[in-house]
Structures are given as C-alpha cells and as structure tokens.
Symmetry: C2
Subunit: 160 residues, 2 copies
C-alpha cells in the first residue's frame, strides 16, 4: 500500500485497471470488426454520423465524435480512399469541405451484421437497468471531473 494518489488505493487502482480492460476490449472488438467486415469502430461511427446527417464538415464531426481534427481527418482519408465517403469543397465558404456518404458507404453500413456493431452495447446491456443508469451517471460525472468544459447533459439529442 505504498501507492500514492488514491484515498483508498485498492478501489482506485481496481477501477483504473477495469477501465483499461474495457478500453482494450473495445479495441480488440474494433480489430475483429476490421478483420471480418473490413471496417473499424471509429470508421463505423463516422459513417453512421454521415448517414444521419449529410454535408457534415470535419470540425463538426470531430466535436461530435470527441476526436481531434487531425484524427478525424485520417479516418475520413481512409474512408474516402475506399470510396465510402466523398469530400467536396463548399461553394459558399471555401474553407469548408463537405463530407457525404456514398452509395457504397450506405451499402457497407447495412451489410455490417447487427451483432458486430458494437460490443459496448452488448456488455452494457447485460447489466441491470438500475446498474446501467448508475454507471452512466457516474461515468458522466467522472468525465466532467476530467474535462469540465463539455456538453455532457444538455446536448442536442440528435448528436449520438
């Protein structure tokens, strides 16, 4: 018990470890998705967002998916290279680049088996409703402590 930084060492460390395991499990799931369906979780999230709202821009998507612009750019690069997404310079504002999902993109989205969509929802869904609500509340609270400047509760509901 010589670790510092936690009021109760064991609890904090166990939680941190559990967090690492969850993150890793999500990553492993994303790789499995990539092997079997040739697309990763971040790419799927991106496509999903574009399916629901056309003419997105990089910056807006980055905010929506909680990623930096450069990360978002890389993901869109790969999607564009495969013809799943189209970039088109905006006429009104030449700084902006509109992103639209292509027919192949929509096709691919529909072809991804439901069960492969995400493992979080499956694991999360296996908890009781009370546990789900409790956990979500605590996660949001913890996230707010990390990064106070965020829309955690009052966000517009059309943003996933």
């Amino acid at each position: 018990m010589e670790q510092e930084g936690f009021s109760d060492v064991g609890v904090g460390v166990r939680g941190f470890q559990a967090l690492r395991r969850i993150v890793r499990a999500l990553d492993v799931h994303s790789r499995k998705l990539y092997r079997e369906c040739n697309i990763t979780s971040p790419q799927l999230l991106c496509l999903h967002s574009l399916e629901k709202q056309r003419d997105q821009t990089l910056s807006r998507m980055a905010v929506e998916l909680n990623l930096s612009v450069s990360t978002m750019n890389g993901i869109v690069d790969r999607l564009e290279a495969r013809g799943l997404v189209l970039r088109s310079r905006s006429e009104k504002d030449h700084r902006k680049v509109h992103l639209t999902i292509t027919a192949e993109g929509t096709l691919l989205l529909s072809s991804v088996p439901e069960l492969m969509r995400d493992s979080y929802s499956r694991a999360f869904g296996s908890l009781s409703v009370g546990e789900q609500e409790l956990l979500t509340g605590l996660l949001v609270k913890l996230a707010d402590r990390f990064d106070p400047v965020q829309r955690s509760t009052g966000g517009s509901p059309e943003i996933i």
Copy 2:
C-alpha cells in the same frame, strides 16, 4: 430512437460517450506529461512496475499492464533507447529477457511531479468514497462482461 442495441438508448449512448471522453482525457494527460516531463503514461506505468519488481520479463509485464506483447515491446524499446531500462538475456533460460530499471530510470521516476503522475486518480479522488466504490464495482462488472476470462478480484495482491 432508431438506434439498436440498448434497452434504453439514451443511457447507453451517454455512458459510451462519457467513456470516450474519459479515455481521451487520459490520452491528453499523457501527452501533456510527455511534453513537460518527456515521458508518457504507459512508459510511467512500465517504469513503476519495474521499480517495484526487478528482473521482469516482457510477457509478464504485458499481462500485468493489460497490453499485448508487441505493444509492451515498443514501450520498452523507447525506454531502453533512452537508457531508462536495461534488457539482459537470462542466463538460465535464454528465451527470456530480463528488464531492469536503470539509475536514470529511477531518477526520472522521482523527478516526475506528484501531480503529474496521473489524472485518473485526481478525477476519481474527487468523487465521494461511496461513489468511488460504486463506480469501481460497476466498471469491474462491465469489464468482466466484455472479457470474462480475467483476474478481476481474486488476483494476487502484489500485481498492481
């Protein structure tokens, strides 16, 4: 409410979003640490483990830190390149490579400001004790649902 996979859509999505925010905050903290102290969180975790137990091996460390062997290898590569860690082939079993922290490694560990150690413990510590225990329990439970084959509770206590 056309998303599938959640019994209550909003709760699951909010939790997932919060999880993404937490993960990102941890990453951002690691980068800040890198800028200011020239070392990242994974490297710090690795050094910390080596300080507590000398003559570790790559595989054992990977299990302990919940990383794949190849990831662990990369981290050790960077630490070794900076002279913070030493690789030495085992005499008994020539397959194994012992990892030991060097004097510079220990020095660096002690020079990292306490507050920079980790942001998780700070955010986590700002929750009430009851919340901490509740959250940890739920995280462990969720992690178990992802990846049932893990030592979440019964592990030997010398492994952090």
